[in-house]
Amino acid sequence: MLLAYILKRIGLSILVILGIIALSYIMIYIMPGNPAYAWVGKPKGPKAAEAIQVAIRELGLDRPFHVQLYDVTMRFFAFNWGVSLRFKQPVATIAIRSLVATLELLVIAYILAIPLGTLAGTYAALYRGCLGDKIVYTVTSVLIASPRFWLAALAVMLLQVFNVSVFGRIGVEYQTSINIVTGSYIIDSLISLRFDAFLDALTRALPPAILASLYPFALITRIVRLSLSEKLHEEYFRQALSYGIKGLYVVRRYALRSVIPVLAQVMGATIAYSLIDIATIENVFGRDGVGVTLAKAIPYNDYPLIIGLLTLVSIAFVIAFTIADIVHKLIDPRVRI
C-alpha cells in the first residue's frame, strides 16, 4: 500500500517534470515574431542573419512541433541547454551554480524558522487572548505584511552604520583557496578543512538567511497558533487533563503532533513565496543566486538562461514537494492521493 502510494507519487512527479519541460518550450514557441530572433538576444548588425540561422538550427524550428518537443526533452536530460548570452558559459552550469547558492539560504532559513515558529505558535496558542498572544499576533502580521527586500535594505543600512561587510558569498581572499565540490562555499570550505573560510561564508550567509526566515517563521507561528488552539478544545485534551497528566506533556505528546500534517500541507506554498523573498534579498546583499542571475540576464535578453532557470527551479521544487509528500505519508497514514 505504502509502496504503491510512493510509486504513484513519483509517477505523477515525473509527469509534472515532463510537463514543465514542455511548458518551457512552449514559452519559447509563443514568442511573437521569430522565436529564434529572441533566443539569440535580438541581435543587430552584420552577423545577425547568421546568428538567427544558428538559432533556428539549435531550436529545430524547421521541423514539426512534436519532433521539436521530443528533441528538447532529450536535450534537457543530456544537460545541453544552450549557451548563456550574458555569461558565455553553458546554461546548465550557471543555473545549477545559482540554484545551489539560493538553496543554501533556503535551508538555513528553514532550519531557523521551523523550531522558532513552532515555539512562538505554541506559546501564543496556550496563552490565547493574553498580552503575549497579542504581541505574537501583531509581530507576525507585520512580518508577513512587510516586504522582505525592504527589511533587507534596512538591514544593509544598519550594517553600514556598524561598518560590517557581509556582501557577496565569501571573502575575496578565500575565494580561490578552496576547491569547489558542491558549489556551496559553506560545505566546500568544510570539505577542504578551511575553518576560517567556513566562518567567513557562514557570517555572510547568516544576515540574508535570517531575513529570509522571517516570512516562514511568521507563517508557521500563525498556523501553529490557529490549529493548536483548535486542538486544545478537543475532547481528548480535556480528558487527558482530567486524568491529571501535565498540560505541557499533553501539548507536546499529542496536540503538537496533530498539527504536523497541517504544517506539511502549507509548506509547499510557503517555500514558493520564500523563493521570491530569497531572490530579492540576494539582490540586496549581492549574493550570486537565482535572483541576481535573473536580474543580470534580463538586460541582455538572455532567454536561454531564463528558460533554463525556470525549468531547473521548477524541477527542484517538484523533487522537494515529492519528498515532502512521501515523508508526510510516512508520518501520517491517513493521507491518500
Partner: protein, 303 residues
Amino acid sequence: MNRQVTSMLSKLLRKSLKFRLGFAITLAMVLMGIIGLVTPPYRDEGWGLVTPGTLAKQGLPPCLPLSCPTPLHPFGTDEMGRDLLSRILVGAHIALIQVSSVLLLSLFIGIFLGILAGYSNRVIEKLLSYLTELFMIVPSFIVAAAFVVIFGRGMLTVVMALVLTWWPWYARTAYTIVRGLRELDFIVLCEVMGGSKAYIIFRHLLPNTLSTILVQAIGDSGSIVIEMASINFLIGSASLQSIDMPEWGMIMGYGLRYIRTFWWIVIYPGIFLLLLALGLILMGDGLSEYMSPVLRRRWGTWI
C-alpha cells in the same frame, strides 16, 4: 444580496477590531490612490516625465526629506530630482489596480476550472488536476522574467505572470469544496429531478464555494501586494528600457543602487507597501474569524 453585504460589513466593523483597522488602512490607501490620480503635488514628476524643473536639478544630488528648498517635497526627491511623494501617490492607484486585477482574474480562472474539474467527467478532472499541479510549481518571478523578455516590460506582463501562477490555489480550493458537495443529498436530488448541469453549478455549487474562496482571497491579497512589488523590484527594475513607471517596487528597485547615500528612495515606498499589505491582511483575518465560528470562540479555558 446587496443589503446582506452592507449589513454584514457594518456588523464586522462594529465587532472586529482587526477588520476595522484593516478597513481603515485600506480605505486610506484608496483615498491616496484617488489623490494621486487627481491632484498629486507634481503630476508630471509623479508620472516620471522629465520637466524643466527636474532638468535644472540634473547632476545635483537629490535633496534630503524635510530639508528641501520647498516645503512641497516632504519625502525628498529621487535620483533624478523628481518629487518622491508625488511618485508614491501616483503609485498608490497602480498598486491597487495590480492587486485587484490579479485577484479578480485568478479568482475567475480558478473558480471556473475548479468547478469544472469537480463537476464533470473523469478525464477532465484528471487533466485539470494535473494542470493545477503543474502551474502551482512554476515560480512566478522567473515566469515574469521570461514574459518581460517576450512581451517587454510593463504592468500587464507582471500581472499575467502572477495570474498564471496564482489561479491554481483557488482552483484547488474550489475543486475540494465541489468534490465534497457533489456527493451531498441536495445536489444528487437536484440531478434526479432533472436539473441541468448549468443550473446546479450556478444555483448551488457556485454560491457554496464563493464565500470560502472570497475570504481566502482577501487574506491572500496582502501576499499579492508583496509578491507583485518583489517581482517589480527584481525583474522590472533590471531591464534598462525606461524608468518612468511610478510602481512602488520599481521605485525601490532603482533606488537600491543609491541605498548607501540616498536611503529615503528605498525606505519611503516600502512603508506604504507595508501599510497596504497590513491593511489587507488584517481585513482578511477579521473576516475569516467572523466567518468561522471555531475561531470566534472565547479562549482561555486552559492555564
